[in-house]
């Protein structure tokens, strides 16, 4: 858990998660690439450093909660969970297959460790609010935190703003939202499809504490989460700026890779790029 891995090691783990995502998508033949690759540092840091969890006890009574609201990016969560020890890494290659615990969009009842079922956008934040409200206002379990990730295109959904108002009203300070601000959605860039800016101003006006970070910088992720935990009178949102498809140059910044799995040639190239950090490391095996 917290403090056992260095920032450098966490960054390395995030790249291992990236490789696993590519391998999973190749084996599955379908799925979403850009979001998961962009979210690798955030999700890895949450599972291997920030969150108070016990992978061998998914229902541990004192655990922190993690909700993935943009459920299509589930490959990154599965990969991080496997890395953390929730299940063996070999199982990652069963993604989307008949009978697999790793459904194409996450189903809570299929895999211990999942807190919700998602896919249709906009409901994860509300569910996180329900847990945070219960912990803070009913059961008074003030040490536990509720982390939730949404996409940025997902913020088009009205349900999101209902939850934003709710969290603001009830001052859900144990709630910490990461927005994967990668600027893409299916039909194009977010600011062309349905503009979100000024995003920070919106959340502030709903009564949230707002931070903006480089979503690929492990230390920034840690610091932002730490600040969020120290904010006790408001819910926290961390607008994490990320590069969609990060780590695979031919995918980066391109909304067309939002949904779609690489073929074997593309996957081979992608893995090579990730492992060599785009050619910065030479002498690596393929």
């Amino acid at each position: 858990m917290s403090g056992t891995l260095t920032i450098h090691q966490l960054q390395h783990k995030a790249n291992v998660v990236r490789e696993d995502i590519i391998k999973m998508l190749l084996a599955a033949g379908s799925g979403h690439a850009a979001g998961p690759l962009g979210m690798a540092e955030i999700v890895t840091t949450l599972y291997l450093d920030i969150m108070n969890i016990r992978p061998s006890q998914p229902n541990w009574k004192e655990r922190d909660f993690f909700f993935l609201s943009n459920g299509h990016t589930i490959p990154v969560q599965y990969a991080a969970m496997a890395e953390a020890g929730y299940f063996p890494k070999e199982e990652l290659l069963t993604l989307r297959q008949l009978g697999s615990r790793l459904q194409g969009h996450p189903e809570r009842t299929k895999l211990p460790g999942l807190e919700n079922t998602s896919g249709p956008l906009g409901s994860g934040l509300s569910q996180a609010c329900g847990v945070a409200y219960t912990l803070q206002h009913i059961d008074r379990e003030l040490q536990r935190h509720v982390y939730v990730i949404t996409g940025d295109g997902e913020l088009n959904e009205g349900n999101i703003w209902e939850a934003a108002m709710f969290a603001g009203k009830y001052k859900l300070s144990q709630l910490c939202l990461f927005i994967d601000r990668n600027n893409i959605q299916i039909d194009g860039n977010t600011e062309d499809v349905m503009p979100l800016e000024s995003l920070a101003a919106k959340w502030q006006s709903f009564g949230w504490h707002v931070q903006e970070i480089d979503g690929h910088n492990v230390e920034s992720i840690q610091d932002a989460a730490s600040m969020a935990r120290a904010i006790t009178e408001k819910p926290s949102v961390i607008i994490a700026h990320t590069i969609p498809g990060k780590g695979v140059p031919y995918m980066e910044y391109d909304y067309k890779w939002h949904g779609g799995a690489p073929n074997s040639e593309q996957a081979k190239e992608a893995l090579r790029k990730i492992r060599t950090l785009d050619g910065k490391i030479t002498g690596e095996h393929e």
Binding site: F65, E107, R108, T109, E115, N116, T117, S118, G119, P120, G122, S123, S126, Q127, A128, C129, G130, V131, A132, Y133, T134, L135, H137, I138, D139, G158, N159, E162, A163, M165, F166
Partner: protein, 332 residues
């Protein structure tokens, strides 16, 4: 008569009447006293849904979400994840009307024991008009896997149904009416989720009712008796899962079925019965209810007459069905 313990005064003009949402309010309060995990959420309609009764007793276990029905059920789903048993209340037109997908994904598929209370269902909503007269809720809820659907017949039954739903551990929907309706059951009448009850035995036709429409069938049966027709009245408060055994036993006996609901017949209670019978005991079925149109503004009593949802406006169609369609009894 069976051991249902019907209210002996059910047919009198001054039969006791109470809105079944009042029974729900009492039932939720009792459930809340029995189990501190019960919590309640509402979307700005606490008095008219009667969830105010629970709120007043347990303000710390009540959550106001404002006019946000999607958030209503998804926050409830999260509270269930945190170990609570949430009841959510709004008008049926908005919940499940507006938030059906969130119910499907975060409650049914996600398997969380959230209870959806759909108040002001049916045309008896009255002057508010068609937008608020939810008629499609039975159809859209019974088609969801992992959802229980209950339409209590009166206020006493609504209280029992609420208490039963509170402990069943499953996603559940309970449909309530705005108006006062006659009380035909008693405190000693049985209620169990998934059970149908023979209120009156007969041999010529099975009259199957759900929710408050069962009462009209009781009156129709009395009228038919005077014409020499022996009608069996079956009350089916649980639409899903259907009590197939009790229903089939009745139909085997009479070979002719009329269903009644304050809802669209398309996909509703009558359709559920027709599906069951087509597969297991093909029998002619006359579905009575709303025929593929919306309601409109009017007083509840005017609307009930206008849309033929009273015994005196339904009897002609029931009699015509009986006269035209012979009993089908091939010896099932």
């Amino acid at each position: 008569m069976s051991d249902y313990q019907l209210n002996p005064h059910y047919a009198s003009d001054d039969v006791k009447q109470e809105a079944n949402r009042v029974g729900f309010g009492r039932g939720l309060l009792a459930a809340g006293k029995a189990n501190e995990s019960i919590v309640a959420l509402c979307a700005d309609l606490t008095d008219s849904t009667q969830i105010s009764v629970f709120r007043d007793e347990f303000p710390d276990r009540f959550v106001e979400v404002g006019i946000a029905e999607q958030n209503l059920v998804t926050v409830a789903s999260g509270m269930a994840r945190a170990g609570k048993i949430p009841f959510t209340a709004s008008y049926a037109a908005f919940s499940p009307g507006r938030n059906w997908e969130q119910i499907r994904t975060t409650i049914c598929l996600n398997d969380q024991p959230v209870k959806i209370v759909g108040a002001h269902a049916g045309i008896s909503v009255g002057p508010d008009g068609a937008t608020h007269q939810m008629l499609e809720d039975i159809a859209i809820m019974r088609v969801l896997p992992n959802m229980i659907v209950v339409a209590p017949g009166d206020s006493i039954e609504a209280e029992k149904a609420t208490r039963a739903i509170a402990v069943n551990g499953k996603p559940s929907y309970i449909r309530l009416a705005r108006e006062k309706t006659p009380i035909f059951s008693t405190e000693n009448s049985p209620f169990e989720i998934g059970k149908a009850y023979i209120l009156r035995q007969g041999t010529d036709v099975s009259l199957l009712g759900t929710g408050t429409m069962t009462y009209q069938l009781l009156l129709i049966a009395r009228m038919l008796e005077e014409e020499g027709i022996s009608a069996e009245v079956v009350h089916v408060p649980t639409i899903k899962p259907l009590d197939e055994h009790t229903i089939l036993e009745s139909v085997r006996k009479t070979g002719r079925v009329v269903t009644a609901e304050e809802a669209q017949v398309a996909g509703g209670f009558g359709s559920a019965i027709a599906e069951l019978l087509s597969e297991k005991m093909p029998t002619p079925v006359k579905r009575m209810g709303m025929y593929d149109r919306f309601g409109e503004s009017g007083s509840p009593s005017e609307l009930a007459v206008h849309f033929k949802m009273t015994a005196s406006t339904m009897i002609d169609d029931v009699r015509a069905f009986i006269e035209k369609v012979p009993q089908y009894k091939p010896g099932y």
